[in-house]
């Protein structure tokens, strides 16, 4: 009690105290419970499709100089091969199982891009739970296809009409709804953030990514990677990828944030550029905020990175120097999607493309025979409309017009 917490903690109204305590206790019990573990593993293997492939990006490696001359071998950990197209399904299944153990009948979630919402709706449908997803009305406009999918999966999507009408406001509204429905609802937070135990719990579920990278690479190369690169919004795929390698001091761990369109407040979502210690949405961490402590507006072409805070464990690893943070701009992310699509047959989500952009920068500078693994946290299907617009694709524009006319 009263102990100094540099990052994390549970800064929530008293009405959540008992709920968080029960969740923490159940999480601790579940970790040691073989029945829980085997059910979780079964869902990962036979529903989500794990383990996900580790792709050797041979042509990108050659192009970046890594086979003949200087430069690293590039591997892609394809989390996009998961059911629903991203790593998010893993912590949704884990939390869904916990919710059932707690006797809850409903999963609620916030979503930005819609990926976590779709994953939560999927887990809820699979596990027989009701589902309510909160989504900023601005994001609903940007990500209509995912709203449609969530509704088909039986979820109710509730638009949030205030604030910036994006991810952080969806979190606020989900928290409020939760406080009104504590008996029946479990809040399935979508990243390694929020009050304890969420950061640790979601990292625990996602750490399967790093363990798989280690095993797959050991089989193929019989050694550890030299660097792991992952995009960072809240940090769930990054913490999942990094966690198993934290004690391996030879492995560089690189998180890539959203550099957006500039370095001014409101033009990016990078805590490396401007994050300051704060307390928000239940946890203490680095946040983009004004000098007065008002939470700042953010921008990213990828809705999943468009959020002011970063998970507390990641903030701690960053400030201690174990994890490096950097950023990629909107334009670099779009270009990286195109590059890996043409060379590797992989269409990345815009979020994950931030990590790919960093690989293009660092792989050529790394020593011969070194290995860089980039986590491809999600596939790009959901960004179809955004890509088409980013590439100013005229035929897609015509298609949309035709599609509109076909709608009658």
């Amino acid at each position: 009690m009263n102990k100094e917490i540099k990052y994390g903690g549970a800064y929530v109204p008293e009405m959540l105290w008992d709920t968080l305590r029960k969740l923490t206790e159940e999480f601790e019990r579940a970790k040691k419970d073989e029945a829980f573990q085997s059910e979780f593993q079964d869902l990962l293997r036979n529903f989500s499709g794990r383990p996900t492939p580790l792709i050797f990006a041979a042509r990108a490696t050659a192009d970046l100089g890594g086979l003949t001359g200087q430069g690293a071998k590039v591997y892609l950990k394809n989390e996009g091969a998961n059911h629903t197209g991203a790593h998010k399904i893993t912590h949704c299944l884990g939390q869904g199982l916990l919710a059932k153990r707690l006797g809850k009948s409903m999963l609620i979630a916030e979503t930005g891009a819609g990926q976590h919402g779709v994953a939560t709706a999927t887990a809820a449908a699979k596990l027989g739970l009701e589902c309510v997803v909160f989504m900023g009305s601005h994001d609903i406009k940007r990500q209509r296809p995912n709203v449609f999918l969530m509704e088909r999966l039986g979820a109710k999507v509730v638009p949030v009409e205030y604030g910036s009408k994006t991810l952080k406001d969806a979190v606020n509204e989900a928290l409020k709804f939760w406080m009104e429905h504590l008996d029946e609802a479990h809040y399935c937070i979508g990243s390694v953030l929020g009050p304890a135990p969420y950061p640790e719990m979601n990292r625990y579920f996602q750490s399967v990514i790093g363990r798989e990278i280690r095993a797959e690479l050991s089989e193929r190369e019989n050694k550890l990677p030299d660097a792991i690169v992952a995009c960072v919004g809240g940090g769930s795929n990054a913490m999942g990828s990094f966690y198993d390698f934290i004690p391996e001091k030879s492995v560089r761990l690189i998180g890539v944030e959203a550099g957006g369109v500039g370095k001014k407040m409101g033009e990016h979502a990078s805590r490396k550029i401007a994050g300051e210690l704060g307390i928000f949405q239940g946890y203490k961490s680095l946040f983009l905020q004004t000098d007065e402590g008002q939470i700042a507006p953010t921008h990213s072409i990828s809705a999943g990175l468009d959020y002011p805070g970063v998970g507390p464990e990641l903030a701690e690893l960053y400030t201690s120097g174990r994890v490096e943070l950097t950023y990629a701009t909107d334009a670099e992310a779009v270009s990286a999607v195109d590059y890996f699509a043409k060379l590797e047959g992989v269409i990345s989500a815009l979020e994950s493309a931030h990590a790919l952009a960093e690989v293009r920068k660092i792989a050529p500078k790394m020593p011969k025979n070194s290995i860089v693994v980039a986590t491809l946290s999600g596939r790009g299907d959901k960004d179809l409309f955004n890509f088409a617009r980013a590439f100013k694709d005229e035929s897609f524009r015509e298609f949309l017009k035709d599609e509109y006319n076909r709608y009658e």
């Binding site: 929530v12 952080k168 406080m179 928000f280 239940g282 905020q289 402590g293 939470i295």
Partner: protein
Amino acid sequence: MHFTTMNNLGTLLSESRGKKPLFMAHMIAGYPTIEDSEKVAEALVKGGADIIELQIPFSDPMADGPAIAVASEEAIKAGATVAKSLSLLKKVAALGKPVAVMTYVNIPFRYGIPKFVKSIADAGASALIVPDCPFDTQEGQTFFDSCKECGVYFVPVVSPGVPKERLEQLASAGGGSSSGGKDSRGFVYCTSRQGITGANSKFAKELFDFVKELKQIFKLPIAVGFGVKSKEDVAELAQVADIVIAGSVFVNAIKNSGIGHVEPLVRTLM
């Protein structure tokens, strides 16, 4: 200093013990504008409010409903900085009624908690309410210590459903003094985002039982705020509450009908 002299809220609370419940009216610093929010305070006082709850706006007020969230956003847009909120606080306190400042933890955290508490004390605040800062955090302890030093009550916020075990921890928290933290709390703020859905609802019964439990555990006046909208709601809560809190009803009135309606609304509710 441990409240060697009681502040004006302490005096009011002890004088009104056993009498008609007090009425605490909520407003947001800078809503609709800084100038107009001074008029809102005047209207609340003229209408008869006993205590003013002055919210320093935060961009993302987790424990408030959409009405206060939107109004906070508008206040910030209209220029409600912490500095301006503090000078407004000084003017509101000068109206003669005790003022309880409410805000979210990131605002004082960024400002520096001891400095923030000293600033609101200097500006005339009698109490501080921070719904998202549990007492058993480092910051919670700093709030306690700073408030004690400055003669400001650090008010605990609870809701039905908080277990007895936790309430007892809360009641004995506050660090050091033999009476626990009780003397430095002033009153207990009991709230919920669930509204009263009728006088005979199951929820009203639960609420009444909970308030009785709070009185036993804390031995402090209990303020109750549950989205009151009408005179009937106030009368209902007055059966158990020592202080009835009216919150978003004033923000809604300003938004829908203008500041002119605030003063008569206080009279109607009371």
